[in-house]
Amino acid sequence: MEATNRRTALYEQQKSAGARCINFGGWEMPVQFTSIMDEHHAVRTACGVFDISHMGEVFVLGPQALDWLQGMLAGDLSKCPADGAQYTFLLNERGGVIDDLIVYRIADDNFLLLVNAAKIAEDVAWLQRHVIDGVTIDNRSDTMSALAVQGPDAPRIFREVFQCEMPVRNTFVAMEKCRGAVIAAGTGYTGEIGFELFFSNALAGDVWGAVLQAGAKPCGLGARDTLRLEMCYPLNGSDLSPGRTPLEAGLGMFVALDKREFMGRDALLAQKAAGLTSKLVGLRMTEKSPPPRAHYPVLVDGQVVGETTSGVLSPSLNEGIAMAYLPLELAKPGQIVQIDIRGRWFAAVVAKKPFYRPSSPRPA
């Protein structure tokens, strides 16, 4: 039988809210409701809500969970307090990125890993392959839904929905007393303040309705992509891959080389000692051009030196932005490059990351 795209528990509600859907990682997901531009600006100036139920919720449980995860993840969980969240990586032996994820430390024997939709099966298989006694991997992706509510108006919306204050950045609270068992976290993928909610599929309609009622605008994956790229947040499968390390991606601050042994650490130490040869940079178009997109060649002095991994017309800046791995000697802000768009070369410059700085004040 032909494999069909999967749908989240909110598919019908989103269709009736005007969702236009595309295939994303095997899921039929809204790419936009009204327009990517409108939704992008709503998140930058007010508040938008994204169904992120396609993402994976993988629990790591048991008395050995903390110690084992310290050996499986690139970040240092000892720096992540209980009720804290940390952006981190699952790396292969070569230090390449299997997946980037957020780990939520619910308790020393209970961790939630929020992983990319297209990588759920691979991540779970990788974790299972290395699991030890005293650790259980519990993949609840099929029974859990998730929403991301993002934008300067998110704190007000949180208060209206939950009658309490929004968790501060990179922390979360379990909301058992309100709307059932919802985990509410001060995390996101847009650069704005906001929160993400994780809950059982049975609660999806109620939570979605409450967030919309409070004034969040339904947003699709199109705006999610423009928002994250303005912040230079990487997308796994585009900007990250098993052949690239977090050091090359410019994400070394999320890698704890000084903690104990962990998967991929030896390769990263060797790469650091030998010196990086390439690095992921931000590129900003400096002349009028079609929007840059992924897989466009990047040239210097007529020679191809790399290709774009992501690219878009930035709705906030109204100019083309992209990311690309470039040889280290070219990976410096101010370096002039050309991007080959359908056979024509357009000038761009290596820019400082991020492209955009949100104006909404961040909680401490």
Binding site: R20, V31, Q32, S35, I36, M37, H40, G222, T226, K288, S289, P290, P291, R293, V312, L313, P315, R342
Partner: protein, 125 residues
């Protein structure tokens, strides 16, 4: 969706308005509505030869670049210069100020193969 009576339509969502031996080409209201947020138009070259069913231009929305197929054979004789500074005219006025290019028809019989407004309306449902 608006499907004007005085135009011919291609299955790939382009329209053509014929005036003597020239035609004005654009994309339909349905097409612009599907694409939304048009941010760049890459027109054909002035003087270029376009071929029915072959890509003649590229229209870019925020999300994707889409080929625009010429509904007829011909020579490109005029471009809509407004689109370089106001590509969103394709969204706001797909049949009027958002036209893409004018073509001198070299094979007018091809017009017979294009869809009537009723047939195109039936296609897009």
């Amino acid at each position: 969706m608006n499907v004007p009576q005085d135009l011919k339509y291609a299955e790939t969502h382009e329209w053509i308005r014929v005036e003597g031996d020239t035609g004005v080409v654009g994309i339909t209201d349905h097409a612009q509505n599907e694409l939304t947020d048009i941010v760049y138009v890459d027109p054909p070259k002035l003087g270029a030869t376009v071929t029915a069913g072959q890509a003649a231009a590229v229209v870019e929305s925020v999300k994707a670049a889409s080929d625009i197929y010429s509904p007829v054979d011909g020579e490109v004789i005029e471009l809509n210069d407004s689109l370089s500074s106001q590509p969103a005219l394709v969204n706001t006025s797909p049949y009027d100020s958002g036209w893409l290019y004018k073509v001198r028809l070299t094979n007018p019989l091809q017009l017979e193969a294009l869809k009537s407004p009723d047939d195109y309306r039936a296609q897009i449902g």
